[in-house]
């Protein structure tokens, strides 16, 4: 909470202070809770038109977020991976806010479950045993994206 006020305060000043900063304030929230809040050197998200890497000082942007990976490089250089199912992204020169529908840390993805979901979705598509084509396709993309994030983390 204090963090946020601090940022708002700085935002209101709107000075050139952000041009000097080498990190940005990143907040990732979903309906289930606050997922991440802290400084990051860079954050990579799949925006509407494709993957974007956001560095401090980026121009203001509002975008939808495609299902896929969120990668962030923290202040100490360590990386974190998340799987996001969709949502919105707001970029201000020194703050980035990701409003996620659902988001899972790569470590928390149940790979077994994702593999099963992928298999099920592929089978449904192959045998045409699905209620709705788009839903089935979305299921499949979701499972594949989750797997990709989970495997990347392991590497």
């Amino acid at each position: 909470m204090e963090n946020r006020n601090f940022n708002e305060m700085r935002g209101e000043q709107g000075s050139k202070a952000w041009m000097l900063a080498d990190t940005l304030q990143l907040d990732i929230v979903s309906v289930e809770g606050l997922i991440f809040s802290g400084r990051a050197k860079m954050v990579v998200v799949s925006a509407y038109q494709g993957e974007v890497g956001i560095l401090p000082g980026h121009t203001q942007m509002l975008s939808t977020v495609q299902p896929g990976e969120v990668r962030l490089i923290k202040q100490d250089g360590s990386e974190e991976y998340y799987y996001i199912s969709g949502g919105f992204l707001e970029v201000q020169p020194e703050t980035v806010t990701i409003l996620a529908d659902t988001i899972i840390r790569a470590e928390d993805i149940d790979e077994q479950l994702a593999v099963e979901a992928k298999g099920k979705a592929m089978e449904a598509l192959a045998t045409k045993k699905y209620g709705d084509y788009t839903t089935a396709l979305i299921e499949l993309t979701r499972a594949i994206a989750q797997l990709r994030v989970a495997r990347k983390k392991r590497r």
């Binding site: 946020r4 708002e8 209101e12 709107g14 907040d27 929230v29 979903s30 309906v31 289930e32 809770g33 606050l34 925006a47 509407y48 038109q49 121009t59 203001q60 942007m61 509002l62 975008s63 939808t64 919105f88 707001e90 201000q92 806010t97 409003l99």
Partner: protein, 289 residues
């Protein structure tokens, strides 16, 4: 004067009630934990999305979403959040009081109100006092998610977009802490931001995809998030208010039992004294005779 037997029945009756209120207090306490967790978990999202919308209000976009259209009010929509069940102190009553004040103010300005009721209590209250009800959402409990409210929210936002109502408010119980709940009214539509603050330079977002699509999604999500948040706040309020009022009820029952026990003993002693006096005076009469 009540006989000792009457008082005994009364005491045992109150003891039974006390057992029930104590059980309800404990149930509410454990439910409160869950609802509070849920409320605190979703608060950051509601706050952040509101913050984004606030930023959006500071921009100078070439496109204005219907949700942001400010019109002079002729009709006002209210979403009233109450609980399904009673026995939670003055929680719902405070909401109704707040609503009555709001409605009175509207009437003074010759405005009319459309209501969307959430929770059984609002339903029965407005059925008795009247009012134009456009939507209802009942059976609000811990499993209530965003999808259960979409219908009610959509009715209201559609009315707004069609110009049937010119602003939409939500009246709900705000969770301050376990002891304090405050009825609160917030404006949902139109999405407005105060332009009082000084703007240093004119800017606008890069929108991906186009502003229409993006803002539509974002503003709808914002609306849902605000309504969802007010529901979970109301639920958390319900449980904590119930816990407190049941705790009071249990304590009051204990006090009542103490008082009754005192008068029971008095009655008992009085009977014994009378009996003794009778015996003694009887014996004296025999001796004397």
């Amino acid at each position: 004067m009540a006989t000792s037997r009457d008082i005994r029945t009364k005491i045992s009756g109150i003891k039974n009630i006390q057992k029930i209120t104590r059980a309800m207090q404990m149930v509410a306490a454990s439910k409160m934990k869950k609802t509070k967790d849920r409320m605190f978990a979703s608060r950051p999202y509601a706050e952040k999305i509101h913050q984004v919308i606030t930023h959006l209000g500071r921009t100078n976009p070439e496109y204005r979403h219907p949700f942001m259209q400010v019109r002079t009010a002729k009709r006002v929509g209210y979403i009233v959040m109450t609980t399904d069940r009673g026995l939670c102190g003055a929680l719902n009553l405070n909401i109704f009081k707040k609503m009555l004040i709001e409605l009175k103010q509207l009437k003074a300005q010759n405005l009319e109100a459309d209501l969307c009721l959430v929770g059984d209590k609002a339903d029965s209250f407005f059925r008795s006092i009247g009012g134009s009800v456009v939507a209802k959402a009942n059976h609000i409990d811990n499993d209530t998610g965003v999808k259960d409210l979409i219908g009610a929210v959509k009715t209201m936002s559609d009315l707004f977009v069609k110009g049937k109502v010119d602003s939409v408010y939500v009246c709900y119980s705000k969770f301050i802490n376990t002891m304090v709940q405050k009825p609160d009214v917030i404006q949902l539509l139109p999405v407005t931001v105060s332009h009082t603050e000084k703007r240093e330079y004119i800017w606008d977002y890069l929108y991906e995809p186009n502003p229409q699509e993006l803002l539509d999604g974002l503003l709808r999500r914002h609306l849902e998030a605000q309504v969802y948040q007010s529901v979970v706040e109301t639920l958390a309020c319900e449980q904590s208010a119930r816990m407190i009022s049941m705790k009071n009820a249990t304590e009051n029952a204990a006090k009542l039992i103490d008082d009754l026990k005192l008068s029971y003993n008095k009655v008992r002693q009085a009977t014994i004294t009378t009996e003794l006096t009778e015996i003694v005076s009887g014996a004296q009469a025999i001796e004397g005779g």
